[in-house]
């Protein structure tokens, strides 16, 4: 009664597809069918934010969206932030510089929430960064370096777009 269905979508700018049962959520589909294991699964019930990806421009919890619902959508995962074997993206580099990760498990979700925020609200201030990150849990860092990294990137992007 739950045969696999074909799901075609765009991931990180590339047309991709696979088969999955309708009960498969997007995070499992990305990891197991498309082998994009950068997206992490923490709580799997929408609380921790580790699985956050961007779907059609919005940050979403990939454990709360069925893969079949993402058919035809544009999905960006953490793998989309930097070219394979290329330099880190600006958010990733800022995380490294600011020590904004320790175990790193939550980091893909943090990065995708911040990537969506920086794209939608380039003028976001610290309060807005904190509000956006309230949906992402980190048990190592205490958040301060994550917020510092985010503010670095927002400021650098504003400076470069002003010139």
């Amino acid at each position: 009664m739950s045969d696999a269905v074909r799901i075609d979508l765009t991931v990180n700018g590339r047309a991709m597809g696979g088969a999955a049962e309708p009960r498969t959520h997007l995070a499992d589909f990305l990891r197991q069918e498309l082998r994009l294991t950068g997206t992490h699964l923490g709580c799997e019930h929408g609380v921790c934010g580790a699985c956050t990806v961007i779907v059609d421009g919005r940050p979403v919890r990939a454990c709360l969206l069925l893969a079949v619902q993402a058919a035809g959508c544009e999905v960006t995962t953490v793998e989309g932030l930097a070219a394979l074997d290329g330099p880190l993206g600006d958010l990733q580099a800022a995380f490294r510089r600011r020590h904004a990760l320790q175990c790193g498990f939550c980091t893909p979700g943090m990065l995708m929430t911040l990537a969506a925020l920086a794209a939608a609200q380039p003028d976001a201030d610290e309060a807005e960064v904190r509000a956006a990150l309230s949906g992402n849990l980190c048990r190592c860092t205490g958040y301060a370096p994550i917020i510092a990294a985010a503010l670095d990137v927002l400021e650098a992007r504003r400076a470069s777009s002003a010139t």
Partner: protein, 287 residues
Amino acid sequence: MKPAPFVYHAPRDRSSAVSLLGSLPNAKVLAGGQSLVPMLNMRYAAPDHVIDLNRVAGLAGVRIDEHAVEIGAMTRQVDLLESSELARRLPLVAAALRHVGHVQTRSRGTIGGSLCHLDPAAELPLVALVSDATLTAAGPRGERSIPAAEWARGFMAPALAPDEILVSIRFDLRGASGYGFHEFARRHGDFAIVAAAVLIELDGERVARARAALGGVGPTALRLGALEAALRGQQASRVGEVIGPALAALEPVADAYYGARYRRHLARVLAERAMRDAIGRAREAPR
């Protein structure tokens, strides 16, 4: 933490959605999925069929005219928050939405999903109740209107027949001159422990009409009829004296974390803050 198997249906129009719902046994309607999918993942719910409304045409969108705002049930919370016209015309809803989940859940979560899931501490059923909103449901026999006061039939039990879906919610804008919304939760984005919503109309410095409701104190959001009656005709500067006595008889639900006494305390404090905000805004409102 994986859902049990189900058959997935993605109807394209409202009548197919309704006829699927009426004909399939043990079916569940999927809106934004921010409450249902966790329940599926944890197998608290194990429907045989899931009917996804996300591809049904005509269920999302906001229509604003002179006297009312009508919001399609599948309108996403983020789209409501990003509408500057909605923030201007229906500021109570905009204020409440800032407390609903997180940016990642508001991307998908819908107003209709919140109203149908009907968590007793959820913000959107509370603002619908205090605003005297009207909900429209569609079923095999057509559409019908349901006043918000009759929407919650009990704990997480909306007044929908098993073969009906919610299609829209209408807020009447007349007479809503000042609003207030306050809630207390342990963490930003959690369901409220207690939430209070207030609408005030002033006649000079007297309260012409007060509407007030609480979330998180009972199995459903609670309209405070006794408080509203006690406030009518009161001097705006003296409403604080009325709130305590009017809420003394409140018997909030208790759970393992928050007892009835604590919730009653929060109810009084938050209702008073919401009332003061509402009066302040009513004073500034154009006549």
